[in-house]
């Protein structure tokens, strides 16, 4: 017998990285919020790599932090080692990545949820969502029913989860948790377009069984940088990572056993990501590559489990042990947890708006792997947006729509809801067309005011941010108006940096524009220089050096805005526009883009189709629905 257990403004299903941010944002905005987890010990779990950030993902974490999200701060609290990736490749692609203590991360996040006002953290499997007067009625496996104004679905790999290891296959969530077996049926009944995706993870190996003697060591940056603009300092790196390589024998074992892979044997129907292939996939697809790299990463300070980055697999456990043991350093390795592939239910994200609310189900939102993405950071970013929008809607406030022009988060969501995902979607710097504007160093500049307006950034932090902006502006002004003389010392520096000498006085800003010079090296010629925060220096250097590119991208942003200011009707049947190719008609009818800009990003809609839309709009001025 079901029983009525109460009401909430917002219910969040799942307490992974998406669910956590959704629940915290909603509660902090003042909504009475519940977050349901299938297992209280799975809150903020990292079932795959023990790290946060990485290329483009580091951008997401910084952006989330600027908006008032929690991931960056918690990652800082649990950091083991931190590195800025891509140094030397340019500021657009700098990305922060931190190895974290995964158990600690889970514990800290859980505690934050427990302490949050307006928030209730509950262990329960949600088995159904039904429409009812006043909102949505959700039911738990224990038959409790809650009436909620909004629901955020953040089920991760739990929803219809099924694990594959060679010939072995069984229903399961990640890390041996129970799967959510009933909810999918209920979601299908609501009309949500569900499909199967798959992902995988490598084995965890006992540290004591690894011989590190001949392995390359990978250390963190000194000093390590934090994610959060609120974290003052991280202290010192606590661990090292190690690098090893596969070899011919590893490959041989894969080739001999490939028929036992559930993927190659055709037992998995789910679509896996191209960028995150299992090791056997890599061997099969890039057959001429003699060896592959693998990173050995510690899972925490108080555990001997080591993560084998680059070696995910769904081959049988005995084959896994065989091929891991061919690798240098792992000759006597002991597997603590085998690698596995997991298949799960997720939704076609084109069924959602950019607010992450389903077009046909007002009040139902989706976030994270459920939306077809992959990665903790992608999940957290969406969770935040979904949670914020659920709360804003209940409060009758304007929705939060982040754009491609202001953030990677906006780019991620626009990609999902406009282009859809044919495989688990991972953020990459190449997905952003404005990447010299959307840098990890200036995430605060792009998003702090939005977070403040929402009410998720404290007044104190906001004032600190404004002060920082002022200091930066003043310093740029000073660099513009300060001239240095063409002394021998200056020219010596210029020659040593392989850039041309000067014969007359030169403004500091013009020297800084030269790619060969940086702010630090000009210190001896700039005695008046104020003491500035390193992040301010980083931002102003990039702004000065890349000014031309930044201006150009800002112009492209303006052009795109013009297209986005041409609204398209959402109730028009594009089949009536015979000038459109059939594929374009179908895609436009499916996505119902809000404007020409969004339409231009739909795959299957060509520039010629856009011309048709533009001409049609012009021909039907004042008659938005055609006639």
């Amino acid at each position: 017998m079901t029983y009525f257990a109460g009401t909430y403004d917002v219910a969040v299903i799942g307490a992974g990285h998406a669910g956590i941010e959704a629940a915290l944002a909603s509660a902090r905005l003042g909504c009475h919020t519940a977050v349901f987890t299938i297992n209280m010990d799975a809150v903020g779990n990292c079932p795959c790599n023990p790290s946060i950030g990485g290329t483009a993902k580091g951008h997401l974490v910084r952006e989330l932090d600027a908006l008032g999200g929690e991931m960056g701060k918690t990652a800082d609290e649990c950091f083991l080692q931190s590195r800025m990736l891509n140094r030397g490749k340019g500021p657009a692609v700098h990305s922060l990545r931190a190895q974290i203590d995964r158990r600690k991360y889970s514990e800290v996040m859980k505690h934050k949820l427990e302490l949050q006002d307006n928030l209730e953290l509950r262990q329960a499997e949600i088995t159904s969502i039904e429409k009812q007067d006043g909102g949505w009625l959700i039911t738990t496996q224990m038959l409790a029913q809650y009436l909620c104004k909004a629901v955020v679905i953040a089920t991760g790999t739990f929803l219809g989860g099924r694990i594959y290891v060679g010939e072995v296959s069984y229903e399961s969530g990640p890390d041996g948790m129970f799967p959510a077996t009933k909810l999918a049926e209920s979601l299908k009944a609501l009309g949500l377009p569900l499909r199967r995706f798959k992902t995988g993870t490598p084995a965890r190996i006992l540290r004591r069984s690894i011989d590190f003697t001949d392995l390359e060591v990978q250390k963190g940056d000194e000093p390590p940088q934090p994610f959060s603009y609120e974290t003052e300092s991280l202290g010192e790196n606590k661990v090292d990572c190690h690098i090893s390589w596969t070899n011919d024998r590893t490959k041989q074992i894969i080739l001999e056993n490939i028929h036992r892979s559930p993927l190659y044997a055709g037992r998995i129907e789910g679509v896996g990501p191209r960028y995150c292939p299992s090791f056997e996939d890599k061997v099969m697809r890039f057959a001429d590559k003699p060896r592959h790299q693998l990173f050995i990463e510690p899972c925490g300070e108080n555990t001997e489990e080591m993560y084998m980055q680059g070696m995910s697999s769904s081959l049988p456990e005995e084959v896994q042990l065989k091929f891991y043991r061919t690798i240098k350093g792992l000759e006597n390795c002991v597997i603590m947890r085998p690698a596995y592939a997991i298949e799960y239910d997720c939704v076609d994200p084109t069924a959602m708006r950019a607010t992450l609310e389903f077009k046909d189900l007002p009040g139902i939102y989706g976030a994270g792997q459920f939306n077809g993405s992959s990665g903790y950071e992608e999940a957290a970013a969406q969770g935040f947006v979904a949670g914020v929008n659920a709360a804003l809607k209940i409060q009758g406030r304007e929705p939060l729509v982040l754009t491609r022009a202001n953030s990677y988060i906006g780019t991620l969501i626009d990609d999902l809801v406009t282009k859809g995902a044919n495989e688990p979607y991972r953020m990459m710097t190449s997905r952003s067309e404005y990447r010299l504007v959307l840098r990890q160093d200036n995430a605060d500049e792009r998003l702090t005011s939005i977070g403040h307006d929402l009410g998720l950034i404290s007044e104190e932090r906001y004032q600190k941010y404004l002060k920082k902006q002022e200091l930066k502006k003043a310093e740029i002004k000073r660099l513009q108006s300060t001239t240095v003389s063409p002394t021998q010392e200056l020219n010596d520096l210029l020659v040593s940096r392989e850039t041309s000498e000067v014969t007359t006085g030169v403004r500091l800003i013009d020297l800084l524009k030269r790619p060969q010079l940086d702010y630090a090296c000009l210190a001896p010629f700039d005695p008046e220089r104020p003491k500035l925060d390193p992040n301010i220096i980083e931002q102003l250097e990039v702004e000065i050096k890349y000014e031309g590119y930044i201006q150009k991208q800002l112009r492209q942003v303006e052009q795109m805005k013009k297209l986005e200011n041409k609204p398209l009707p959402t109730d028009f049947d594009y089949k009536e526009l015979k000038g459109l190719r059939l594929e374009a008609q179908e895609k436009l009818n499916k996505i119902k883009p809000l404007n020409i800009g969004q339409a231009s990003r739909i795959s299957g809609v060509s520039p010629a189709d856009i011309s048709v839309l533009l001409i049609w709009l012009a021909a039907n001025k004042g008659k938005p629905n055609g006639d």
Binding site: R274, G310, K578
Partner: protein, 456 residues
């Protein structure tokens, strides 16, 4: 139906040809035509099937204007996909204008520029590139233009663009993989890798762009001026080339007072030829204006045909012309080779590389002149079936792509980081993709996953 208005316009070039066509398109096209057109056998157009014709008269305010043939097209089997009536009457500006006025008074709206094609396009009768290529074939004034227009549809141009695009795509994909997967063992991207690809792309894009000007010489024609002192035979020469009596040919010096324009086809090249007043001092006020204009034309033209009289020695105006010719692409045309030579040919050669000997009155030397023109217009180097840029949209895409490739090269030389260079490359790629109707970002990612072994 997308648009309920019925539109009309004169759809033949004004003033050209013996027949003028007034096209009416839209739901009421046939009813509108019935109001102005009286069939000789009294049968109404609205009772006729599509693809049928009727002969009769067009009336304005009850007065007969002209005899006309009415062609009836029924939707969707017409150029625009709507009901269409085409009234063919006698050409000439006045008559066609009057017929159009009659049609508009009967309820049609004047069509905006390109509106028929727009409707055709919206009704799915044409796609954009097709529309462009078809328009080019229709308007092709000579063989080369027709061949060039066909080669766009056949995809020769497409293959040349694809080659550049794919090279840039592979490089951009390599750069993306290298940036997005810093810990995978992806081969280092080197300066020379980027500069080699960019320079090759630059070369090919520049080559394509240069074909545009030659292509335009074939399609649109080039501005050419024919100049020389009075009575060297400019007008006769022009008539020889154009095959019509456009300029007034007399024996009296100074007959051609003003710039007379004519479009003529010289081999594969269309010349928009101005016959100028002779260069000479004059007291005649009207002729003076003509001389001034001629000088101005001279400075701006893409080709100067400097005409000299074989039968007389060089005069001061000839020297003046030789001076001018130094700064303008010029062909020296030595006319009147049928008469005994008194001309200092060596002198002319010291100023002008291209000399052609003709007799405008006998037609001798015409072929040589046409070849010389082709050489200057660049069309002799041009094989239209190799695929050339044939319209402004394509040219704009290629030239923007070229600009971005050049920016990438200079960014690299200046020592900018590769993230900035990548942005330039992607700009170039997206221009080329736009030209061929594809999309940018997905292409690069597809290539990353295809070419590189990346993953956790």
């Amino acid at each position: 139906m997308l648009n309920s208005t019925t539109i009309a316009a004169i759809s033949t070039a004004q003033g050209e040809g013996g027949v003028g066509v007034i096209r009416i398109s839209g739901a009421d096209a046939i009813a509108t035509a019935d109001k102005v057109f009286k069939n000789i056998n009294n049968r109404k157009l609205s009772d006729m099937r599509g693809y049928t014709a009727a002969f009769g008269k067009v009336f304005l305010n009850g007065e007969p204007l002209d005899e006309a043939v009415a062609l009836v097209f029924r939707a969707p089997h017409s150029y625009t996909g709507e009901d269409v009536v085409e009234l063919s009457c006698h050409g000439g500006v006045f008559i066609t204008q009057q017929v159009l006025r009659a049609v508009i008074e009967a309820g049609a709206s004047p069509a905006q520029a390109g509106e028929f094609t727009k409707r055709a396009f919206l009704n799915g009768k044409l796609d954009l590139t097709e529309a462009e290529a078809v328009a080019d074939i229709i308007s092709a004034k000579n063989r080369s233009a027709a061949r060039a227009a066909l080669s766009v549809k056949d995809g020769v141009l497409r293959r040349r663009i694809d080659k550049v695009k794919n090279d840039l795509l592979s490089l951009a994909a390599h750069l993306s993989a290298w940036a997005d997967y810093p810990e995978e063992d992806i081969p280092e991207v080197t300066d020379s890798m980027i500069s080699n690809t960019c320079e090759a792309a630059q070369k090919e894009l520049e080559k394509l762009l240069s074909t545009y000007d030659s292509g335009q010489a074939i399609k649109q024609g080039i501005d050419a001026v024919i100049a020389g002192r009075p009575n060297v035979g400019k007008s006769t020469l022009m008539n020889l080339l154009s095959g019509s009596e456009k300029s007034i040919v007399t024996e009296i010096a100074g007959t051609t007072r003003d710039v007379v324009e004519n479009t003529i086809v010289a081999g594969d090249v269309i010349l928009r030829l101005s016959d100028t007043a002779g260069l000479r001092d004059t007291d005649d006020a009207v002729e003076k204006i003509g001389v001034e204009r001629a000088k101005k034309r001279l400075e701006q033209c893409a080709l100067l045909l400097a005409v000299f009289d074989n039968s007389s020695a060089l005069e001061s105006f000839d020297y003046q012309l030789l001076e001018t010719a130094k700064d303008v692409p010029t062909i020296a045309v030595v006319n009147k080779t049928d008469l005994p030579s008194k001309l200092d040919i060596n002198k002319i050669e010291s100023f002008i590389d291209n000399i052609v000997f003709v007799s405008a009155s006998t037609g001798e030397g015409k072929d040589e002149l046409i070849q010389a023109i082709a050489k200057i217009a660049g069309t002799n180097q041009l094989n239209p079936s190799e695929g050339i840029l044939s319209n402004e949209r394509q040219r704009a895409n290629v030239s923007a792509a070229l600009r971005s490739v050049k920016e990438a090269i200079s960014a690299l030389e200046a020592g900018m980081t590769f993230d900035a260079v990548t942005v330039n490359l992607e700009d170039a790629i997206s221009e080329l993709l736009e030209m061929t109707g594809e999309k940018a970002s997905d292409e690069i990612l597809d290539k990353v996953f295809h070419n590189f072994c990346v993953g956790k």
